[in-house]
């Protein structure tokens, strides 16, 4: 078996491990939701004898200190943590072997980019979860991660090979590596932002599904069980409040933004070496620039009255959408100088 084949096998193994972790996270989330739905009754029952440990009111105690939300399954959390770590080990080994097989730093095409991106996102996830276990973050990030790995193996895959002269530069490590890391960080941040918006909406009792819709009221009624204020989202009471989630998303986005800025600058330096132009308005450059501007708008929005909180989070969604579109749409459908996907 060649290193390249072994690498592919390890990536499959990593995807399997991540899928198990995803299931474990989902189970944990479901348990929390269930417990949250049951909790009012339970509280009423134990009301006379005092509130037992671990069922402290989440809305009050949701500051930073809620290590394990009420109803969370310790076993599911353990499985999630272990399999995530296992997946990271598999993926890391797969990436390293891929690099050995190809004879270069494995960030030269979409397949390798995706592998390293998922690796970065899952490592950031583990780091974030170490401080505070949030099942939803695991579900969101690993959901995206498993999807991305499947895309990588089934669509983006190309044989491990040496790179063309334009990519033979140490900037392949710096520029692309930092871009991938930034993408991974943004992935965890966007999950935190989604959670923030949901959590804020629930805390404020705001749902678009509660008031009748003018035209498509049938659609609304079909979606009604999914009201963010309804019982299906009761688990939101156990996650940290919107303020803390916003702070988490901001810290991650700030790190991602600095890395993204470096990606732009490093890319310009490399372009200067390779093409003799530091800025060429290549579609990839434009996409990176647009994402940078959107995240810059997010950082400004956070500190603008009337834009902080929910609206700023919407900018995070747009920014992440641009980052992903810049990787997928621009690579596959737009021709430019960055046409390195290796796919025809």
């Amino acid at each position: 078996m060649t290193p390249g084949d072994l690498s592919t096998l390890l990536v499959w193994a990593a995807m399997t491990a991540f899928t198990i972790a995803l299931v474990a996270y989902t189970v944990d989330l479901a348990r929390i939701a269930e417990a949250a739905q049951r909790r009012p009754r339970q509280l009423a029952r134990v009301g006379a004898g005092g509130v037992p440990d671990g069922v402290a009111d989440a809305d009050a105690g949701a500051g930073a200190g809620v290590a394990r939300a009420g109803g969370a399954s310790a076993r599911a959390e353990g499985i999630a943590r272990t399999t995530t770590a296992l997946g990271i080990v598999f993926l890391l080994a797969g990436v390293v072997l891929r690099g050995i097989a190809a004879g270069h730093w494995p960030t030269a095409n979409m397949y390798e980019f995706t592998l390293v991106g998922v690796l970065a996102a899952s490592v950031v996830l583990v780091v974030v979860q170490r401080r505070r276990f949030i099942a939803f973050l695991g579900v969101a990030v690993l959901g995206i991660g498993v999807l991305a790995l499947a895309m990588a193996l089934l669509v983006f895959y190309v044989r491990a090979d040496a790179v063309q002269p334009a990519l033979q530069s140490y900037w392949l490590v710096l520029h692309v590596g930092v871009a991938i890391t930034a993408t991974g960080v943004f992935t965890v941040a966007v999950a935190a932002s989604v959670l923030q918006v949901l959590s804020a909406a629930r805390a404020e009792g705001r749902s678009h599904l509660s008031a009748p819709w003018a035209r498509a009221d049938g659609v609304r009624r079909a979606l009604a069980p999914w009201q963010v204020t309804g019982p299906r989202f009761a688990w939101l009471r156990q996650v940290p409040d919107a303020r803390n989630l916003e702070a988490l998303a901001f810290r991650l986005n700030a790190v991602g933004f600095v890395l993204w800025t470096f990606t732009l600058i490093g890319g310009a330096i490399w372009a200067e070496h390779a093409w003799g132009r530091y800025w060429n308005w290549d579609p990839k450059e434009v996409g990176t620039f647009v994402a940078w501007v959107v995240y810059a708008a997010y950082l400004h929005a956070r500190t603008t009255r009337g834009w902080s909180g929910r609206r700023a989070a919407y900018l995070v969604f747009i920014g992440y959408g641009v980052v992903i579109a810049n990787f997928t749409v621009v690579n596959l459908y737009v021709s430019g100088l960055h046409s390195y996907s290796g796919l025809r």
């Binding site: 303020r243 070496h273 501007v293 959107v294 009255r305 834009w307 909180g309």
Partner: protein
């Protein structure tokens, strides 16, 4: 209800920590825009003169909200450049688009959609954005300059309302404790003790009570301002580079030389301020070009141009140009941008005279170097028609049908020229500049055989083939390679890099440097003002209370406060303080 005002604002420009500067940039003062939080102001509008309107417009332009709007506009406006082909990058695609879309094409062209990044609207957005930025940053810089020389705010009377708190007792005098705390806070970074972190004031509050007020993190605002100013400088540097740069392209065939002067370039693009006389007339000779390809996939692996450079007044020196590795000669960078084959041919006219001889670059069209080119033969003997040969070079030819050939690899394993023949007037004397890679067929007729089908000639190296209609002969002498070089000079490059890196450093500082205020009060024994009731039963001596405030969300605030307090009180630090400060706060 209080619902709309409940939006959290972890780091607003108008938060408790804000400096006076923020009111100016934070657009806090434009009422009635956007949010439904405030009741509409009473509609009594004072009459605004022209000056008043100008002031109003300026305030709007420099407000945070408009800056945000312009940022989003900039992001949206940049997108069409990836959707539509751009003149600057792919002029041929623009031409094709105009042909394919006769209805919308001309309108898009008029509206600048094929030159997005130099269009009036795109320029307007980013120029307005930069004006807004300058209008916001300059007053802030002035404020910050003043604030930097200011002192930390005095210790508040009550320390109980701050997010991070701590307390303890000490057997020492309050003054000693306060001075110890001041010394501890003045101590610099670990390992860099001379770099101060906190700016510290010690106050005698009377009645034996001493307090310490400390502030750190001016760097945060400094970084923010540096970042924005560096962006302005970056824009200026890029614009200056546009004025002073030059870029030229030249094709050099193996064994040939090119002189660095305007006359010898194939194309030239230069800024208004570029002086062609400033070019150093060095000579560059292409000695050899090595191209390496993967033997199985045919993918390119390495391109290396071996050159000899002769600068005026110096000896010839060898040099190497690779794809990611330009060669710098007398301040001019030379890039290897392309390569291909330039078949050397000799054309003899009907009289047997050599009408043309030399290499002709054929432009590669695909990964296997199927190359297209034109051989123009204007200098035929008197009275004969001029000759044009159009066709392909196939480096590794393979016959797939009667007249069908294709190339199977990039290396010259079995080169073949496949040519069609035109004769008549090449149109070179009309004064209109012509593309050397294209034949103007207006004054030409194509040679056909007896059946009326176009004649196709195939020539291998060393072969001589008769041209149809008795036009003469063509000989394929050899197959040297050529390289396409970009020569470029941009004096602004070091500045562009410097300002870009300055912006990056400023950005990182503004996002990661913590901005914190710490206060510590040491009061004698009991009943000192501002002492938490809970701290009173800690016994005699000095009661110490401390509090911290940070700009925005700052996880490091409480641990830092605890560390300071521990050092001041000579407490033994607990191994792992969990969720520091929170317990005290609750």
């Amino acid at each position: 209800m209080t619902r709309p005002t409940k939006t959290h604002r972890p780091e607003g420009l108008d938060d408790a920590f804000a400096l006076g500067t923020d009111a100016e940039s934070g657009s806090g003062s434009d009422p009635g825009t956007g949010s439904s939080a405030a009741p509409p102001p009473t509609p009594v509008l004072p009459a605004l003169g022209p000056w008043g309107w100008a002031r109003w417009a300026w305030r709007q332009l420099t407000s945070m909200r408009v800056a945000l709007l312009l940022l989003l506009l900039l992001a949206v406006a940049a997108v069409p450049g990836t959707v539509f082909p751009q003149h600057a990058q792919r002029p041929e695609a623009v031409a094709a688009y105009l042909v394919d879309h006769p209805g919308t094409g001309p309108w898009l062209n008029r509206l600048g959609f094929f030159d997005v990044y130099s269009s009036a609207w795109f320029s307007a957005i980013y120029l307005l954005l930069f004006v807004s930025l300058v209008g916001c940053i300059l007053p802030r810089s002035r404020q910050h300059w003043r604030a930097m020389r200011g002192r930390p705010p005095r210790t508040p009377r009550r320390l109980g309302r701050f997010p991070a708190q701590g307390s303890g007792t000490s057997p020492d005098e309050p003054r000693v404790v306060a001075e110890r705390a001041a010394a501890r806070l003045r101590r610099g970074w670990p390992g860099l003790r001379w770099v101060p972190t906190y700016r510290v004031d010690v106050h005698d509050e009377g009645g034996g009570t001493w307090s310490v007020a400390a502030e750190r993190g001016y760097l945060r605002e400094t970084g923010n301002l540096v970042f924005h100013l560096a962006l302005v400088a970056l824009l200026v540097a890029v614009a200056a580079g546009q004025l002073a740069h030059f870029r030229a392209q030249v094709v050099v065939v193996q064994g040939d030389s090119v002189v660095n002067s305007v006359a010898s370039y194939d194309t030239l693009e230069r800024g208004r301020l570029f002086d062609p006389a400033a070019l150093v007339p060095f000579t560059l000779r292409l000695d050899r070009f090595d191209a390496r390809f993967d033997p199985t996939t045919g993918a390119a692996r390495d391109f290396t141009a071996h050159v000899t450079v002769t600068e005026p007044g110096r000896d010839a020196a060898p040099g190497i140009i690779k794809v990611n590795d330009p060669l710098t000669i007398a301040g001019t960078k030379v890039y290897l941008q392309g390569n291909g084959y330039a078949p050397a041919v000799t054309v003899r006219d009907a009289a047997g005279e050599v009408a043309f001889t030399g290499p002709v670059p054929f432009l590669p069209q695909d990964a296997v170097y199927t190359s297209r080119g034109v051989i123009k033969v204007p200098d035929v003997s008197g009275g004969q028609p001029q000759i044009g040969l159009v066709g392909y070079l196939l480096p590794s030819s393979l016959q797939v049908g009667g007249d069908q050939w294709l190339s199977t690899g990039p290396q010259p394993d079995d080169p073949l020229l496949v040519l069609s023949v035109w004769s008549g007037d090449l149109g070179l004397n009309s004064g209109v500049p012509q593309n050397v890679y294209r034949l103007d067929e207006a004054g030409l007729t194509q040679a056909v055989d007896a059946a009326g089908a176009p004649v196709t000639l195939t020539v291998r190296p060393g072969e001589t083939v008769d041209l149809p209609d008795g036009l003469g002969t063509v000989t394929f002498d050899s197959l040297p390679r050529f390289v396409a070089l970009d020569l470029r000079r941009d004096p602004s490059l070091p500045w562009v890099l410097t300002f870009a890196l300055t912006a990056l450093a400023g950005l990182a500082t503004s996002l990661f440097a913590p901005r914190r205020r710490l206060w510590l009060r040491a009061a004698p024994g009991t009943s000192a003002p501002g002492v938490d009731p809970g701290a009173q039963d800690l016994g005699p001596g000095t009661v110490v209370t401390a509090a911290g405030l940070a700009r925005g969300d700052d996880v490091g605030l409480a641990p830092e406060l605890d560390r300071v307090l521990d050092d001041v009180l000579h407490r033994v630090r607990a191994d792992l303080p969990e969720e520091d400060g929170r317990d005290d706060a609750g």
